[in-house]
């Protein structure tokens, strides 16, 4: 069987530092990522959590690799399905006056439900992130999540 792997690349008129901050700082993620915050001290081995305004944890995991403004690798699991853990890699690259951002979500367990959910989510999140960085405003496209 072919392994599931989701890769999404976008190009943003921004800098690697601003893009990194938009992914790792709760005050920014709340503005474009369905109102959720990414919370961690972003050190290798530290835990990270994706939490709602009501402090519900939607996704959690560990920081596997962290090179600010370049590369962030996380494990990713639903708190109710901790064994269904997968991996997310953010790669930030400067391309002339742009940022190329590639998100790869892979290492899904056999029979994982997560691949389906995140293939719905990543194009929304990353489209909204680009809008946020370029216009100051994320997209309101998360109804039903």
């Amino acid at each position: 069987m072919k392994k599931q792997k989701l890769v999404y690349t976008t190009f943003i008129k921004s800098t690697p530092k601003k893009t990194w901050d938009a992914i790792t700082k709760p005050e920014f993620t709340r503005q474009y990522w369905a109102g959720l915050a990414n919370v961690s001290d972003w050190k290798k081995g530290a835990k990270w959590e994706h939490i709602t305004k009501k402090n519900e944890v939607w996704v959690l995991g560990k920081v596997v690799e962290c090179t600010p403004a370049k590369r962030l690798v996380l494990t990713w699991a639903d708190p109710d399905q901790l064994k269904d853990v997968s991996r997310v890699t953010f790669e930030i690259e400067k391309v002339e006056d742009l940022v190329g951002l590639t998100v790869t979500h892979d290492n899904f367990k056999a029979g994982s439900k997560m691949a389906g959910k995140v293939s719905w989510g990543w194009p929304r999140v990353l489209s909204s992130l680009k809008s946020f960085l370029e216009t100051g405003e994320g997209l309101n496209i998360f109804a039903g999540c």
């Binding site: 976008t10 190009f11 943003i12 008129k13 002339e96 006056d97 489209s127 809008s131 216009t135 997209l139």
Partner: protein
Amino acid sequence: MQKSTFMYVTYIRTTPEKLWAALTQPEFTRQYFFNTTQESEWKPGASWKMKAPDGSTTDGGEVIEIDPPNRLVLKWRHELKPELHAEGYSHMTYLIEKAGTAVKLTVTHEMDKAGSKLIEGVGHGWPTILASLKSLLETGQPLEETRQWKGGCKGE
């Protein structure tokens, strides 16, 4: 049968009508699609051509399905590079749907052939083109990298 497929979804703060115009009209495509234009009468069975700034045809085919501002299906063959031309026709679909305060654009480009070099090539091009299209519609400015013709399909 084995296929090569590239699919990309983006969400843009705009209307389906504005997105449709940006996908089909030369004054918009020149800005985000490497200074190319598309020529067609935009009706079923009409011929379709993509033109480089020097007037040469880079890609050609015909309109298979057209339902403005919702759906466009093109038969699409590359014309400049012999090895890509030899692969014959691919199919490219734009699907436009409303999503909250934005519009969802799904681009599907496929060929009935495993390991297509054309699909590999457009797989490098589409994310850049669609990122620039989104910037153009949301900010009024495309991404600088997509304003100039660069000799076509990268990635070979």
